[in-house]
Point group: C2
């Protein structure tokens, strides 16, 4: 069996998330069907770096799959793109060593959360951002975010706690930027808990609109209680940008 | 009866065009229902500057409607936006003299046609452009377009010729611009024939990909025969930008 690594983008708006669910349109199912169609194999199983939820987008999701297909990676890239609907796009296909595992070997991920706080929602980008009805103080959000950098128990931002594993993660990069009416959070970590970026975004949104003082974020982190953090921000603003492997 | 003028944007992707058609989701029907809901009137009829086809977008469509509603224009703006789905947005509401007619009084319209000719389609902007699989020579398209400026019989770009009226129109502005992988045609005229901008775009696309020499456009204009011009370019790239009234 050969092992292939694929890098892909998708517009999550019209998918019920990544993971196959009976009767629902998901990215995994759509991709697996295209691969089965190309290879002639009955079932091709793709193994993703991680699931994304309904409405979440990706610019650099990574998967691997095993197949006996004789095709070169470049052929797979073109042939699969020809079979995929317009809201999924492969950007790269490579053959990798047999033991490469897109999920277990991922050592870092970069997510971006995009916010628009203009007075009027942007009609044409509404699927790709969260529109805040409140004007936001980006500088306050950036200052409040600093305490989240580094290694912490992030269970305050975890939707499904307790899980069986540790809630300790290391955020290696966390910035808040603004350009005009647009803001974006970049968060890179060695791994993410369920809904962690959206909970961080929801918490910083509460700071940005003046609902909470900046110091509140440090207190929430310390409290280790999901109910004290901000709400899970809408999926439409979230993009999985990049997955790193050492 | 009071007379109101509304300026609106819409993402045409998920509408069967402007005009009400039984059983289909159209912009006109959606807007009229929101207005009837607000005013309590049984039927509010909006009169647009012109119809747009399935998939065509607008940033500055203009309509007027008559109503006995006591509400101020600012109230109508807010209340209608609250009632409209996410793919229509009013940007302006004004009260106008009783005789103002958004259709008959329009003296100029500006359309934009957006083309992306990068090697890979843009996943997130695919609804708002036409992706050309061929790299395009924007400078050749701009030179070829020059002969279309001014007053001509444009029946070569008219999908439904013969119509009952004249096919003579005056193009007051026609430019072709490029920024990176993105190109856009701006076309302003005193009025447009059915599918005229998309036929112009399809013709210039044939020049841009080297299929036709630049001089072909002058010959097509002279021939006055729709079958000699290029195909009607896809609706997804077309935006009604602005409607002018003297």
């Amino acid at each position: 069996m050969r092992n292939f690594k694929l890098t892909l983008s998708y517009d999550g708006t019209d998918f019920f998330g990544w993971q196959t669910q009976p009767g629902l349109r998901t990215v995994q199912e759509t991709l697996e069907q295209a691969l089965a169609d190309l290879t002639g194999e009955e079932r091709v199983r793709v193994n993703a770096s991680g699931r994304t939820d309904t409405g979440v987008h990706a610019l650099g999701q990574v998967v691997n799959f095993h197949s006996t297909t004789p095709y070169a990676p470049e052929v797979i890239l073109r042939a699969i793109n020809a079979r995929l609907p317009a809201d999924i796009l492969l950007s790269r296909a490579e053959e990798v060593p047999a033991n490469f595992d897109a999920n277990r070997h991922a050592t870092r991920k970069l997510y971006r959360y995009v916010i628009h706080d203009g007075p009027v929602p942007n009609l044409f980008l509404r699927r790709y951002c969260h529109h805040s009805r409140y004007p936001l103080d980006a500088a306050a959000m950036a200052r409040a975010a600093v305490v989240l950098r580094g290694t912490h128990d992030f269970r305050c931002f975890e939707s499904e706690w307790p899980n069986r594993q540790s809630s300790v993660r290391t955020i290696t990069h966390l910035t808040v930027n603004r350009f005009g009416e647009w803001m974006w959070l970049n968060v890179e970590a060695d791994g993410f808990l369920y809904n962690m970026v959206r909970a961080i975004a929801g918490t910083l949104l509460n700071v940005g609109r003046g609902h909470w003082p900046e110091e509140e974020v440090a207190r929430i982190l310390e409290a280790q209680d999901r109910t004290q953090a901000g709400p899970t921000a809408p999926a439409s603003g979230l993009f999985l940008m990049r997955v790193g492997y050492d």
